[in-house]
């Protein structure tokens, strides 16, 4: 799953460790999410969305190209 976590983190000038601290996860977990090696759990995805003040689907892209208005 693609995500904008790296971009959002850079916009806030946070290191992976700093972001991890705010989300209560390790730097390795942030790195794994950013490099697409791991999809965060739903609670963690909500935490990330809340931290950046954005909806989950604006941060994470599952590649689904269906009718978004349906």
């Amino acid at each position: 799953m693609k995500n904008k976590l790296k971009v959002l983190r850079a916009m806030n000038d946070w290191s992976q460790a700093e972001l991890g601290q705010q989300l209560d996860v390790s730097r390795q977990a942030i790195n794994a999410i950013e490099t697409g090696k791991y999809d965060p759990s739903l609670p963690l995805a909500f935490k990330i969305a809340r931290l950046f003040g954005m909806p989950i689907e604006e941060i994470f892209d599952d590649g689904f190209e269906g009718d978004k208005n349906a």
Binding site: D24, V25, S26, Q28, A29, A32, I33, T35, G36, K37, Y38, D39, P40, S41, P43, L44
Partner: protein, 132 residues
């Protein structure tokens, strides 16, 4: 207390080395044949059930102490360890039929195989990620 990935990276080197030593255990070539009695089966099944329930309860603590990323890696690696142990048991059974000088797998060896495959899978997932 949260278990960090970097700490686990270092810690798992210990069981990895231990599992290799376990696999080096000298097996019995001429093990006495014993027929599986009903008592033996019942004892083993009951003991396994108790240990399995304890393990289920134990993983609850693991889950609380481990972040989701690490827990997912550990559980994926555990699945690999189980599959590897079953496949190795079958494959080694064939080897001992072909070459009778090779020892049968002992419990110690099996524990070694499980530990080695679990640790190897852990490092693999840390390196490659857990995505299919």
């Amino acid at each position: 207390m949260q278990i960090s990935a970097s700490l686990l990276d270092k810690f798992l080197l210990l069981p990895l080395a231990a599992s290799l030593m376990m696999m080096a255990d000298k097996g019995k070539v001429d093990a006495a044949l014993t027929s599986g009695s009903a008592t033996q089966v019942m004892l083993l099944a009951a003991a396994t059930l108790v240990v399995a329930i304890l393990a289920v309860l134990g993983t609850k603590i693991d889950r609380r102490c481990t972040e989701d990323y690490i827990y997912q890696i550990l559980s994926n690696a555990a699945l690999i360890a189980v599959v590897t142990a079953v496949m190795m048991n079958m494959a080694w059974g064939i080897v001992t039929v072909v070459d009778i000088s090779m020892p049968r797998l002992t419990g110690q060896m099996m524990t070694g195989i499980v530990g080695f495959s679990w640790c190897t899978a852990y490092y693999w997932y840390r390196w490659r990620g857990v995505q299919p």
